[in-house]
Amino acid sequence: MMTNILWVIAYLVLAPVIGGLLAGIDRVITARMQGRFGPPVLQPFYDVLKLTEKEGITVNKVQDFYVLCFFIFVVITGCFFFAGGDLLLVIFALTLASVFLIIAAFSSNSPYAQIGAERELLQMMAYEPMVLMTAVGFYIFTGSFRVSGILSFGTMPFLYMIGIFIGFVFILTIKFRKSPFDLSMSHHAHQELVKGLTTEFSGKTLALIEVAHWYENIFLLGFIFLFFANGTALGTVLGLAVCLATYFLEVLIDNSFARMKWQFALKSSWIIAITVGFINLVVLRFML
């Protein structure tokens, strides 16, 4: 119980710091890949702090409320995860949070925000089967949905769940909002729908979304860690290394691919889920 509380506090305090640093490292690596210097590593923090200093403007009286709910539920989801909670609960709470963000965009009745919201919804539909199958895979392999149970299982799940791992990394590109799947609200210098989902947000609201994404990224990397956790020091080190490697891989993919159309995002995610994901589940089911 005590360790759980400590983990939650650590998550609450450290996740934005680590998430922001990762975002900064992302930008620096991207810049170097493009042959330029790039911003300082702490730039994301400057960005968020600057946003808090801006004048408070909004387009209606409710969208800030929805974004606040989005933020609260993302943080709650992460807390569930780091307190050793049930993976399905984590996924469902995250869905609730995502729906709040989407509704915030819908509430503005603005064309750019609306298309961003529809694309965001489509992204959700694209990655959800694979994410659910990941949780199912962990359950079949370790006998528990709970993060605490998975961590204490003892055998490294990675090789047995390699299909699911591949599928999960594939949809991670969607969740991290990286090309080719950054359809709804591109980061950095990309623009397509003006700013898509976040068009009508500004100032503190926008800062809140950015910080929420940092919280989210940390517990998504936590999912990756679960594939390698086996209770030993080697497993922990390997897990952390793979997390960082995966993040770097996402940055590499981001810089190598142009944005694809939504049809491709949906089709490819579902085909990956139904092939590598499903086959892995069948193998797990009949192996155990």
Binding site: K61, V62, L68, D86, V99, S110, A113, F145
Partner: protein, 633 residues
């Protein structure tokens, strides 16, 4: 037992009374008072049998048997004649096959089989009684102002509302009878009455479309009826019993009752509009909204899944069970896909109903303690939430003049309270921490534990599709459009009362859900699935869900609509004409902003989805029935 007779008899009396009373004011009083009495009686029944749980009643009556047979023959003749009149010959054929076989059986073999316990009550029946009594009554009360508006819109046509209300209360009576009948012949009788009520209610408007759809519903349900009759014949001939309880006992004791179970499940499948029979439910949406709410989402179709749930101890990994689980799963998947491409609100609700019934069917087919727990929770939550949504759509339709979701934008400004109720309803259908999600969670766990990996994949994909079409609609509900005239006061007070009650029930259901589970479900399941330890499912998570619900309710109360930020126009590339509704186009003319959702017809067009789903389910059903019937012959 007298309460049971009261519940069956009283609505019947009210129905006949409403058939003769023509005056609006008297009808209003009768319906309102009757609804309250029915609701109270249902609750009273619950308290009566709360601690006892289940009881088989030693009750026989030759008079009732003969009366039932007589009525069945009359109804068969009515269907036969109507089928010929409207040139729907298949209906006449089915009626001509079904009832004579039934009558022949009853007069020959059936006569010799002694049925001691014709009526029973158990906790599952209590839940159904509560649903019928409370939600059914609320819908009847809602129908009063709704049908007044309906009559107003259809000015000049004959006022057939007495017939409408007669059918509603007759239906309630038949449903009560259905859920307490242990004698399958009696169950079949009430089953067919509900089919006929549905037939007449769908055809109420008497337009060509309505008539066609009513016959489609009748035909599909009669096909199920034929299977029902066959099941009774098989049970009577080869097993020597007509009692459901005895059949289940045989099954759990190890004797195979696979054939009658499969036939009865097939009847349930047609009534619950599973694929390939789902088109009747979609067609039924032409009926007035109270019909859709009462029959085609919360009650009649629940009779179909009710029967399948009752059969669950004898399903599982046998031929009948596999048929049921796979048909349920396939229906859930393809109906969820089909809902994505629909913009007509009632069609979205209809496909969602079909999908959720598929999920319940699949759970019942798996036939484990956990799966049936999930199935019953789904039944409860779905009944409450879906009826709320249908009634909201009905109110919206009458006030904004359209059933299309695309016309509902700005509803938050025009009828705020309705929009809020719909938001609660829509969230209740798929979001944490509401009931449907919790039930779906339990269903997923049950699927995984059953070992059926295909069903697991189905529920993963189906859930993703479900979130998509509901959130789309939710977005329309929450869109704030400038300068919308508030027409909230046009809505009848009665409609508000019913909608408000249902919304309250949606929230209360999830709060009370641990109590419902431990006091009603767990005792029922322990008695049916003997030898399983009653481990409470998701207990720690339930507490978290309640906390999340409290948060979801508290946050809006504290923060909704409160901001002191400066309001600026939306970004329309700088050409906003200031009202957020129009912009200057490239020819310097004002152009209105029009936003529509995505429907992805090419991927999720409902004709395609129903075709695929129908073919797969059809093959499964045909295959299984062929194997079983071939084995007998």
């Amino acid at each position: 037992m007298s309460t049971i007779f009261f519940l069956i008899g009283f609505p019947l009396v009210v129905a006949i009374a409403l058939l003769v009373l023509k005056a609006d004011a008297i009808r209003d009083i009768v319906v309102r008072v009757a609804s309250v009495i029915i609701g109270v009686a249902s609750i009273y029944l619950t308290f009566q049998y709360y601690s006892i749980g289940s009881e088989l009643f030693d009750f026989q009556s030759e008079t009732i048997n003969s009366l039932m047979m007589g009525i069945e023959i009359c109804l068969a003749i009515v269907v036969f004649v109507l089928g010929i009149k409207y040139k729907k010959y298949l209906a006449s054929v089915l009626a001509a096959v079904q009832t004579p076989v039934m009558v022949w059986f009853e007069l020959t073999k059936g006569h010799s089989i002694e049925v001691i316990n014709n009526i029973y009550i158990d906790r599952l029946s209590i839940i159904m009684v509560l649903i019928i009594g409370i939600i059914g009554s609320l819908i009847c009360v809602y129908s009063l102002p709704y049908m007044k508006d309906f009559q107003h819109h259809h000015h000049g046509e004959k006022d057939r509302r007495p017939w409408f209300f007669f059918l509603l209360f007759l239906f309630l009576s038949a449903m009560f009878g259905l859920v307490v009948s242990n004698n399958l012949v009696w169950l079949y009788f009430f089953w067919e009455i509900t089919t006929l009520c549905s037939f007449f209610l769908i055809g109420y408007t008497k337009t060509k479309e309505a008539v066609d759809n009513s016959f489609k519903a009748l035909i599909y349900n009669l096909i199920g009826g034929v299977a029902f009759v066959l099941a009774i014949v098989v049970l009577g001939t080869y097993y020597g019993t007509l009692e459901l309880s005895t059949m289940l006992l045989f099954g759990t004791m190890g004797y195979s009752v696979v054939l009658p179970a499969a036939l009865l499940a097939f009847a349930g499948i047609t009534k619950a509009a599973q694929m390939p029979f789902s088109s009747w439910l979609l067609g039924a949406m032409v009926a007035p909204t109270p019909t859709s709410a009462l029959l085609h989402s919360s009650t009649m179709v629940k009779a179909g899944v009710f029967l399948i749930i009752k059969l669950s101890p004898v399903l599982g990994w046998n031929v009948a069970g596999v048929m049921v689980m796979m048909v349920g799963g396939i229906t859930f998947l393809f109906a969820s896909f089909a809902a994505i491409s629909q913009s007509n609100a009632k069609r979205v609700l209809a496909y969602s109903t079909v999908a959720n019934l598929g999920l319940i069917t699949a759970c019942a087919g798996i036939g484990t303690y956990a799966a049936v727990w999930a199935a019953i929770m789904l039944v409860i939550f779905h009944a409450v939430t879906k009826s709320l949504l249908f009634l909201c759509v009905g109110t919206a339709e009458h006030n904004i003049g359209s059933r299309d979701i695309e016309d509902m934008d700005g509803l938050f400004g025009r009828i705020p309270r309705l929009a809020i109720f719909m938001i609660v309803g829509i969230s209740g259908m798929f979001l944490a921490p509401f009931g449907m999600l919790v039930s779906k969670w339990a269903a997923m766990t049950a699927f995984i534990d059953s070992g059926n990996v295909i069903l697991v994949a189905i529920i993963c994909f189906g859930s993703a599709a479900t979130a998509f079409y509901w959130t789309k609609w939710l977005g329309k509900m929450t869109a704030i459009m400038a300068r919308r005239e508030n027409i909230q006061n046009n809505v009848h007070k009665e409609e508000w009362i019913v909608l408000g009650t249902l919304t309250g029930l949606t929230i209360a259901a999830i709060l009370l859900f641990p109590v419902i589970s431990s006091t009603i479900l767990v005792p029922y399941l322990t008695s049916v699935f003997t030898g399983v330890n009653a481990a409470s499912l998701l207990s720690g998570n339930m507490f978290i869900m309640t906390a999340m619900l409290a948060l979801v309710i508290l946050l809006p109360l504290l923060f909704f609509g409160k901001t002191n930020k400066k309001i600026v126009p939306i970004y329309l590339s700088g050409t906003n004409l200031g009202d957020d509704l129009t912009f200057t186009d490239s020819m310097q003319q004002p152009m209105p902003v029009s936003l529509k959702n995505w429907y992805m017809e090419d991927y999720f067009g409902d004709e395609k989805m129903c075709r695929y789903g129908g073919i797969i389910s059809g093959i499964i059903i045909a295959g299984v029935l062929a194997i079983l019937l071939g084995g007998v012959l």
